[in-house]
Subunit: 480 residues, 2 copies
Amino acid sequence: MLIPVILSGGAGTRLWPVSREGYPKPFMKLADGQSLLLKTYCRAAAVGNDEQSQCGEILTVTNRDYYFMSKDEFACAQLGERQSCTFMLEPKGRNTAPAVAMAARYVAEKHGREAVMLVLAADHLVQDQAGFAAAVANAVELANRGKLVTFGVVPTRPDTGFGYIEAGEQLGAGRVAVRFVEKPDAAKAAEYVATGNHLWNSGMFCFQAGAILDEMARYAPDVAAATEACWASIQAGKPSGQMLEIPAETFDKMPDISIDYAVMERSPNVAVVPSTFDWSDIGSWGAIRDLATPDEDSNRAVGEAIFVDSHNTYVQSPDRVVAAVGVADLMIIDTPDALLVAHPDRAQDVKQVVTRLKKQNHEAYKLHRTVSRPWGTYTVLEEGPRFKIKRIEVKPGGSLSLQMHHHRSEHWIVVSGMAKVVNGEHEIFVRTNESTYIPAGHKHRLENPGVLDLVMIEVQSGEYLGEDDIVRFQDVYGRA
Amino acid sequence: MLIPVILSGGAGTRLWPVSREGYPKPFMKLADGQSLLLKTYCRAAAVGNDEQSQCGEILTVTNRDYYFMSKDEFACAQLGERQSCTFMLEPKGRNTAPAVAMAARYVAEKHGREAVMLVLAADHLVQDQAGFAAAVANAVELANRGKLVTFGVVPTRPDTGFGYIEAGEQLGAGRVAVRFVEKPDAAKAAEYVATGNHLWNSGMFCFQAGAILDEMARYAPDVAAATEACWASIQAGKPSGQMLEIPAETFDKMPDISIDYAVMERSPNVAVVPSTFDWSDIGSWGAIRDLATPDEDSNRAVGEAIFVDSHNTYVQSPDRVVAAVGVADLMIIDTPDALLVAHPDRAQDVKQVVTRLKKQNHEAYKLHRTVSRPWGTYTVLEEGPRFKIKRIEVKPGGSLSLQMHHHRSEHWIVVSGMAKVVNGEHEIFVRTNESTYIPAGHKHRLENPGVLDLVMIEVQSGEYLGEDDIVRFQDVYGRA
């Protein structure tokens, strides 16, 4: 019995402007259009669904704000009935130990203490699925013997950005984990790579639910106690089988601590599986850049770029043409409302931009021009004096809340699909190339009753057009 | 009698992406919101309107495609009745000699051969109006003595990007122009600046209409002959007083030659007025950058920029936030649909980008997202499958043509001002926050009957949305 557990948190501020608070790193799409989260999900499903385990459940621990977006991503995998997705929703981020503990508590309850969990970060990239599956098989073997198993990636360079695990004597399909070491300096890192006994700590784990809970009780009793309290308060809420929301008041007592620090570095019961698959934590734009193929001048582009006598420059611009003239060693990352130009050696400092934007309370640290909602997305196309234009896309079956605005009227024009509209006392269908008008003060609701996406242009008109001028009367997603 | 003549041509390809074929350099707005053309016009009006001359006419020679845009710019000066604007419209660009000759022919006819012309380039920048006026006064004095007067800017650096004029002995308020020299190499330029007898050839001139026509007949008889032919064909068209359109067939015979090469470098009758005002030909992005005030790291920004450990970097981005991280010596120029990142030393090579875009027939070499029309502007906000959204702004009194589309319907929503709409057989008024629908195949017309700008959102819907699906029945601007 193998239950993949995806830990999906982390803002990824070093990947601004694509990663934002409301659209964090796991949702970032690579050049193939797939998000890191979707790729992680497919990777997990492939090992979780092998003949032996016969198990099709994946547990995702994430912030409750990302619940609907995550479900949408998983739907892209089109695994349908073969896969069941369970969500453990946190009211805020609290590092990895609480997430792992809550996941273990759930798995132990549902599948028994012997069930093996495979803990994966949602925002890492592994492309060698066969190598990954082989390492997982080795880890499962050790986990079944009661070990807490880490995946230690065999270093390909003396990286100073990762923690290392010192591997000791052979232990089944892996080795004993002797010691965890913090991010080393350059000399130490070079030594580690030379001796061959030090492996990158990938942040992926494998263990029986019971084993990790036992070690948690021993080495992090405060986390264990808070976990029991959270579990009890979830149960008190009579949760649905597939969505377990941790109440904020109980979760507030959870310590903010990593699984490494809480357990792995303390337990004598830890093994490491040396791993040679192509693991990347996508820690900065450099890692994304390296996924693109360079031309003869070492330039790379995702999108439309024109290079004139430029070298070692990466352009990522899905929507606009970018010209680089006489430049070298740059990363140019374009989004509809914000642009980054950074030296590759300074990719870590991109987070300083986010810090400054946040201090200014600038929209661009938080939201993209396209904003996800449970029913679909909206994109602000333009704002002007007394008007705002949005493209609204509603998923089949999606429904906006029954709502009313005090200060704005709305013109709706359906450009694709079919809309069901409540407008005051009336309910009508609005077809492609038809329009309707919602006066200020009218209760209204927009639904997509069809099986195709609904695309609608909304022109708002009024003296105040803030998102907070909304009164919600009913909402199928519990937002009323 | 002093008649300013503005030569407004030149694509300014080194100033892409702001300067484009359909929106060339003279229309480029500086940080204060004024275009180079408007600034030139105001400069000209100030010297043309002095007490002595009592003359309020300015003649602009430009391509016919820029007629309405130029008029709109001049209207921004709000000089009203005090200033009369005459346009000489060329069907294509043919360098400066034909433009000057045609201007001289007009001035001689209307104001007499003794009338003095002050020839200015539309895309240069002079901020020291008093210094400029003083130099013009000196030039006029020499012009009244029959001289062809050039303005020689006293060099402030050994620039290799300009031609130089060697100044000889004193001649009234100026000096004799001994020799014109082409762009020198660095050593020559340094020598020129050291000796003090070489001045930058600014491309501005002052002469009597008769004097330049005579020298033209002597040194460039082909231009003189073509000028007479063009003048005759204009007259044959019974032009209005203020808009003289040169017919294409006649203008085709005009040689493509500069006034320097055709006359100035050959005539012994040329004087130079040494000038110390702050002249710039805005030859590249470096000149625009230098207009902004640097911070302590030599960074400059027009728009919203965040600099993290960056130096000597210029950001021009009116609409989006730009973050520069760990970079130096860059110019980052942002527009809604295209971005330039260039090294300041390579600013000249920006034209190579335009060449490549043109070869690809890429929209971004030609048009901005906002396109000027005689009646106002339209901006494409978004294009998607089977829909396109535009913001349409119509000037007071402006009127689109009476037209029809075969393949698209249009939803019109007025967000500001008032529209008069012909829709099939009906004529209606559409007020702010009202909408109307134009089915495919319906004849329609949009007018702004009011005194405020009309702002309208148009959502087009249909299987083909190209600008060429238009049948024009009537047009007040002669485009039917």
